[in-house]
């Protein structure tokens, strides 16, 4: 009790008490990670003492990173008996897909939580190469490797004690909604803790947007950026190490590839605040089906040349890695999803 009163004491005025906390039957909450880094979990715990409010409202039935709770118990639960599932991570292996299907069946509301589940994020950049390429690098070519026999992971291995199994490694990483039906999206790498809290309050108060929506702002990072904007006309794209940017002027006007115009607001413009260009972790804003396309459009329109050859030179020299620049967080969730597979 003392803990929760302390929590109320430090809450700011904006923080609303979730109504379900007051005596109503507790809901069930699952938090799962698939192909991800664990940053989403840290961000969930970043709501600090408000986690106690979450605990008041929900029984946590599965949260591999933060609490006990067994997959086997979830398998035995009736369908739709979990009220809310926050699913982070992309679908890289058969185990990821199995858990996505399981949690979809058991959950009333499934939220694609964070960039990996929503659009593939950094693990999704592996869609620029094939499964064979990944195995070759990881198990044969990596300089820090000690694998003289060239062992690769097998889905089935016979040992004296019996058969051991590993999940199948998919050729193309999929997002959660390319695998199962998703109810809502919470973008960000990771989602900001304040946005997570707002989403949880929205769930508990039943004030959710229409199904299929992103829970959060509709506008762009540029809208929340305080830098001075004048006319955008650039003759060269600069890498971050090439210049020390002016602290006040728009970063894109200084030639840096800032993803602000193509990125959903929600972070509060954290990177531009510390003189670093936006890298687009919050995904595209409402109405943009493809992050890279939106960014390409925005960047192309500021190039100060009308000569095709000159435009081509500026782009090639300034943006050597198109996919890494335009799709750093969204390759798997983009319209093209991956690069062309070359027959091996």
């Amino acid at each position: 009790m003392s803990q929760s009163s302390q929590a109320t004491a430090v809450s700011t005025q904006q923080d609303k008490e979730p109504p379900a906390a007051a005596g109503a039957a507790k809901g069930k909450l699952a938090i799962y990670w698939a192909a991800s880094c664990g940053g989403c979990e840290i961000s969930i715990l970043g709501i600090h003492e408000k986690i106690l409010e979450v605990d008041k409202a929900f029984d946590i039935v599965l949260f591999p990173c933060g609490a006990d709770g067994k997959v086997r118990d979830v398998e035995k639960m009736p369908d739709k008996s979990i009220d809310l599932c926050l699913f982070n991570g992309g679908i890289r292996t058969s185990e990821n897909e199995y858990m996505a299907r399981l949690l979809r069946a058991k959950s009333k509301v499934l939220i694609a939580f964070g960039s990996c589940a929503s659009e593939g994020c950094i693990p999704g950049l592996a869609n620029a190469c094939s499964r064979q390429d990944i195995f070759k690098t990881n198990y044969h070519d990596s300089p820090s490797l000690d694998n003289p026999e060239g062992v690769e992971p097998q889905t089935e291995t016979q040992v004296p004690e019996g058969k051991l199994h590993l999940p199948e490694f998919y050729d193309t990483l999929r997002t959660l909604d390319q695998t199962v039906e998703v109810d809502y999206y919470l973008p960000g790498c990771p989602p900001e803790s304040d946005r997570i809290w707002e989403a949880l309050v929205a769930v508990l108060e039943g004030k959710l947007p229409p199904k299929g929506s992103v829970i959060g702002a509709a506008s762009t990072v540029c809208d929340t950026c305080k830098r001075k904007r004048t006319e955008k006309k650039i003759t060269a794209f600069k890498r971050t190490w090439e210049i020390i940017p002016d602290e006040e002027a728009c970063l894109l006007e200084q030639g840096l590839v800032c993803c602000g115009p193509a990125t959903r607001a929600g972070c509060g413009g954290l990177c531009p605040q510390v003189n670093s260009p936006c890298i687009g972790c919050y995904g595209p804003p409402d109405g943009a089906p493809d992050f890279g396309a939106r960014l390409m459009s925005a960047l192309a329109s500021v190039i100060d040349s009308n000569d095709p050859a000159e435009c081509d030179r500026i782009i090639r020299e300034g943006i050597p890695d198109a996919i890494g620049t335009f799709y750093r967080f969204s390759l798997a969730g983009s319209l093209l999803r991956r690069t062309a597979k070359v027959a091996n």
């Binding site: 897909e97 199995y98 983009s334």
Partner: protein
């Protein structure tokens, strides 16, 4: 490539020049390949790279963008933005592994019906040489994972049961 392959091509034509050129080609009975599905946009500058990606991801074998000649844009200078966007788009498509000849930008004024018909014929012939794109085939897994998924469920039931 088999001779029977007829490429599906999506063409984004601007309202003021290229679409009228297409009209003129029709009125003057200029013959051209029927493979291009024409979508009229107000300006070639309206063609978001997402339109091109969407067409390719839904099974188009090629995409053509057509606008007014540079300097003759109905919206003064929007087709210069098209030039830059097209350069940016090609830069990305190269890395995706989409062949150079599958996406093409051409200019056709309202008087150039025949030129547009010729450009369409040339484009269709070039895409025919490349063969089908079938982009969704790149992300569809050749392997069926149903057995692997069922195996996980069986294994959980057999090995994860905690005795009470």
């Amino acid at each position: 490539m088999s001779d029977t392959f007829e490429p599906k091509i999506v063409g984004f034509l601007c309202n003021w020049c290229s679409y009228r050129a297409a009209d003129l080609a029709g009125i003057s009975r200029a013959k051209h390949a029927p493979n291009v599905r024409i979508i009229r946009t107000m300006c070639s500058g309206r063609v978001d790279p997402a339109f091109v990606f969407k067409a390719l991801s839904m099974g188009a074998d090629g995409v053509m963008i057509a606008g007014c000649h540079p300097g003759e844009c109905h919206y003064i200078e929007q087709n210069y933005k098209t030039i830059r966007r097209y350069a940016m788009l090609k830069h990305a498509l190269r890395q995706f592994g989409v062949e150079e000849d599958r996406v093409r930008l051409i200019w056709a004024s309202a008087a150039e019906g025949q030129q547009l018909a010729d450009a369409i014929n040339q484009f269709v012939a070039d895409v025919k040489k490349l063969g089908p794109l079938n982009w969704p085939g790149h992300w569809q897994d050749a392997q069926d994972h149903t057995a692997a998924l069922e195996a996980i469920a069986h294994e959980h039931a057999e090995t994860m049961e905690v005795p009470v």
